[in-house]
Amino acid sequence: MGPLVVNEIISQNTNFFLAFLIGIGFGFVLESSGFSSSRKLAGVFYGYDTVVLKVFFTAAIVGMLGMLFMSLFNWIDLDLVYINPTYLWSTIIGGIIMGAGFITGGFCPGTSFCAASIGKIDAMFFIGGMFLGVFIFAEAYPLLEDFYMGSFRGIPTLSEALGLKDGLVVMGIIFAALGMFWVGEWAEKKFPREGY
């Protein structure tokens, strides 16, 4: 029966409305759990606070398990779920630029809007920087196009790339995540920081 939009169970507009509600909930939870503090995000890089890593990895696991179980119960057709196409080198370079932005700005795009909404001026500058970056990219696009569109690798998933069953990959990721949580908590003890 799912995905709901593809199979026209709900309309595109209803979908946007649901996304709007989910977005508000997401922003509320981010702010109420302190993600609008740039120290929290920077903490991942310095090791004194790995809450961000744990939250997003947990979200990934929950989403992954949910999708596969719903597929198992025939509630959703995973072949109709959109998967981002892979452009290998542009993804790698984009990831490096984004990571550099994370650590220097102390926000990710989502948390910057959270922080701006409670009046943090650095977050507003961060948002301005994002728009500036978008503008520069758009203006320079003809120069970047070959690189941006090059190294297209189709739409592989981890399991297809590794030639393993989805379920096995999921189990591997769960163990990897639990291992990372453990490393994260170890880092928090190793690099403690008072009153950040």
């Binding site: 939009v5 057709d77 072949d79 959109y82 196409p85 189709g154 069953k165 379920g167």
Partner: protein
């Protein structure tokens, strides 16, 4: 330490269950005649000319246009970037890597849709994924993209937006629509809505 333990005890068994159940076997390799009929009726194998024009202009690397007409016809005219695989030689070994792949969208086209659909159906029954058909073929392409018909001024906004897109696309792709507008500044290409989902070959749900 308690919550962490509970978390692990919750996730690990679920992961084990997923690792133990057999992989999805509900999707058949070959469609039964009934499934195929349903599939053809729903028109899911088609890419519309607008989608294809948009992809050509954006130089989308996931698009491979395959001209299934004869070599002569291909030499005379073909869509930008199209490769030529005449229908008669479709199943030769040299083309196998093109039509049996899981990377790009192959879009077959011929003058109408008959030959392209034949090519698509052959591929579908061989279990090859990611093959599609240009809706309406080249005839419809010329009609919609190269010489779009101007809608009445009272038409709904979407229709006028679609006309503007087609006019811009036709000019960008060397169509005949330019005489009327050559004095105007080069039109920006309006966006058409991006594909809302990954279009993958599936029967009913």
């Amino acid at each position: 330490m308690k919550p962490r333990l509970y978390l692990a005890l919750f996730f690990i068994p679920l992961g084990l269950i997923l690792a133990a159940v057999p992989a999805d076997t509900t999707h058949p390799y070959k469609l039964s005649p009934n499934d195929l009929l349903e599939y053809v009726n729903s028109g899911m194998q088609y890419f519309s000319p607008d989608e294809v024009a948009d992809m050509i202009i954006k130089k989308d690397p996931s698009l491979v246009l395959i001209d299934v007409r004869s070599e002569d016809e291909y030499e005379k005219f073909h869509l930008p970037g199209a490769i030529n695989i005449p229908l008669s030689s479709l199943l030769e070994d040299q083309w196998k890597d093109y039509i049996n792949q899981d990377l790009r969208y192959n879009v077959f086209y011929s003058n109408s849709t008959v030959n392209a659909n034949q090519a698509w159906m052959l591929c579908r029954q061989l279990g090859y994924e990611n093959n599609y058909v240009l809706q309406g073929g080249l005839n419809y392409w010329v009609e919609t993209i190269m010489n779009p018909e101007k809608p009445a001024p009272t038409s709904p906004d979407e229709e006028i937006a679609r006309y503007n897109f087609r006019k811009g696309a036709g000019q960008a792709l060397g169509g005949g629509a330019e005489t009327e507008t050559s004095s105007q500044p080069a039109p920006e290409l309006p966006k058409i809505a991006p594909r809302p989902q990954k279009k993958r070959v599936q029967g009913g749900c």
